[in-house]
Amino acid sequence: MIDVRVAAIHELTPVIREYRLQAIDGALPGFSAGSHVQVHLPDGRRNAYSLLGDPADNSEYRIAVRHQDNSRGGSRYLHQVLCSGDRLRISAPANLFPLYSKARQHLLVAAGIGITPFMAHSRELLRRGEDFELHYAYRSGSSDAYLGELRQSLGPRLHEYPAGIRRLDARALLKDRPLGAHVYSCGPQSLLLAIAEQAAAQGWSPRRVHSEAFAAAEPGLPFSVELQRSGRQLQVGAEQSLLEALEAAGVEIPNLCRGGVCGQCQTPYLKGDVEHRDHFLAANERATSLMPCVSRGCGSPILLDI
């Protein structure tokens, strides 16, 4: 856990703000391109945000937050309540979206706020002098944060897809690439799927296809759980995730992405009806395990084997 101060807030577009975070005492840990931190919000929630600054600069961390109308409150708090000078608590950086060290060519594909991890990636790749391209789909005037900065630093390596003007064509993007090329995508699920499908269709090994989803818990109906070993009963509110309810009750479960992707918070359960919302567990694992960061009860109460 690291205590930081909000050193500056910049409005990049009407819906995207950048926050610069500095350590309150000591130095911030270094990080690798693709890392994220969890920001701890005052209501006990924790949201994961990519670090978009230069990994060579650990004087501050930079994150960017898009305001979500259907947000459970995280982006609303950051946009409307948090001020420059305020304190925040964040987790140490962790990397679930690293560059593949032996790739011969890197194809970075971003849509909207999915640009953030690639800000760090592209700085790192420029420094290493590696072969890469950044393909960026955005909506002018709202989700085009960093466009100016990227045009300047990347020149012809930047390929732009402004909404309504030029469509991102996954087939063309992946066509005729060298065998050592790796593709990385970050954005809405539709983008990730389009890239993965095209890569498979063109015979790419799944090892060469990397992605990071907008991973966050979605609200649902309230439900209840029981903890087998302690006999405790917990109520999970409509706007709350099971993981958050456990944390609020003082039960710490290891976790990294808080979005059903990384697999860290996998928890065994003995009975109950579960609506599995993760992208991690195999079908046969779902009979006995669930991911409390995103998955919810949807019927008879859940009995957790913890």
């Binding site: 840990p29 270094g30 690798s32 890392s35 060579a56 950086p93 690293p98 060290s101 032996k102």
Partner: protein, 338 residues
């Protein structure tokens, strides 16, 4: 604890290496029970027991100057004991930063680091080194950065690249291995380089260990102990020099085992390197002769029982089978119930 270095001792030829009473007292005896079986036995590498080998992330002890002279000798004979694949250059700088910062913080009487942006000034008073360099620019150091810093730190180092949900041995400095070779293992995956280990594969130890290691996070290092036996206090028991030490195993008798046989304990440390996302695996080796070890009666009794009951495949893998009988004959009197 005040740290002072012993006059130069040798790990070859006349084998003048020996432990002081203080070094024996802090020796990391690795057996929590009378029986030994493979386990993952990992714990968070947090500071504990001031004065012990667990106090600092990287332990420096009375043998520091001698061990660094031994490393220099091994590298002189075989420069390829240090290897850094091109994609591991950043992990090498990460390692240099971590080691310099740790040493300067934990042993300020011997190591000093001043930084002004990328302009670094490193002083190693124990070895008489004073170096100004530009962090990130290998041309400003006398040699490659991993080699530079590990010539100044006890123990072996492997740097593991993380990709494809696996770890790959793509860099390292290995001059005091317990019969393994960096050059042979270079580029191998975690399962590949552990293939020779008996019994543990069936128990699923390596699947669990790999999953654990892949998830080690920045700032949350872990450690474990491992052990074997070595004849003479020889640090460089590598396959490359097997012809120089392999036959020593035939020299052990019930009379000389106390002087010849050494318990060799590895304090293994696993650290996520922040900039490169590589995993540092450091192997800090401690040697103790059985004559020294049995000055602690509890250790003596337990070592006898562990050696007596050690499964044959493990004894074979650790190279003990050939002299297990004379070793047991020498140890038996230290177990009152034997």
């Amino acid at each position: 604890m005040t740290l002072t270095f012993k006059p130069l001792e040798t790990y070859r030829d006349d084998f003048s290496f020996a432990n002081s009473a203080e070094a024996i007292a802090r020796f990391p005896f690795p057996f929590p029970e009378d029986q030994y079986m493979y386990s993952v036995n990992l714990e968070p590498a947090t500071s504990r027991d001031p004065g012990s080998v667990f106090e600092h992330l990287f332990d420096v002890d009375e043998h520091y100057v001698s061990e660094m002279a031994e490393r220099a000798r091994v590298l002189e004979l075989d420069p390829q004991r240090c290897l850094v694949m091109p994609h591991m250059a950043q992990a090498a700088w990460d390692s240099l930063a971590l080691l310099m910062q740790s040493l300067a913080t934990d042993y300020p009487q011997y190591f000093r680091l001043a930084r002004d942006g990328d302009a670094w000034h490193w002083q190693n008073l124990a070895l008489g080194i004073d170096q100004r360099f530009t962090f990130g620019d290998p041309a400003t150091l006398p040699c490659e950065p991993l080699e530079y810093i590990t010539r100044q730190m006890q123990g072996d180092f492997a740097l593991l690249d993380q990709r494809d949900n696996d770890l790959f041995m793509d860099a390292g400095m290995v001059t005091c291995p317990a019969d393994w070779s960096l050059r042979f293992d270079a580029g191998m995956s975690f399962q590949q380089w552990h293939a020779p280990v008996p019994m543990a594969h069936r128990a699923g130890v390596f699947e669990r260990a790999l999953k654990y290691l892949l998830n080690i996070q920045v700032g949350q290092p872990v450690r474990r102990l491992n052990w074997t036996l070595t004849i003479n206090p020889r640090l460089d028991t590598s396959p490359e020099t097997y012809h120089q030490w392999g036959s020593d195993r035939g020299k052990v008798t019930a009379d000389n085992a106390g002087a010849l046989v050494h318990l060799r304990v590895e304090l293994q440390l696993m650290v996520r390197l922040p900039r490169s996302n590589a995993l540092m695996f450091s192997i800090r080796t401690y040697l103790i002769s059985l004559d020294e070890l049995v000055t602690n009666p509890a250790w003596a009794q337990r070592l006898y029982r562990v050696m007596r009951d050690l499964p044959e495949p493990i004894a074979d893998y650790k190279g003990i089978s050939r002299y297990r009988q004379p070793l047991l004959d020498w140890l038996r009197p230290f177990d009152p119930q034997a």
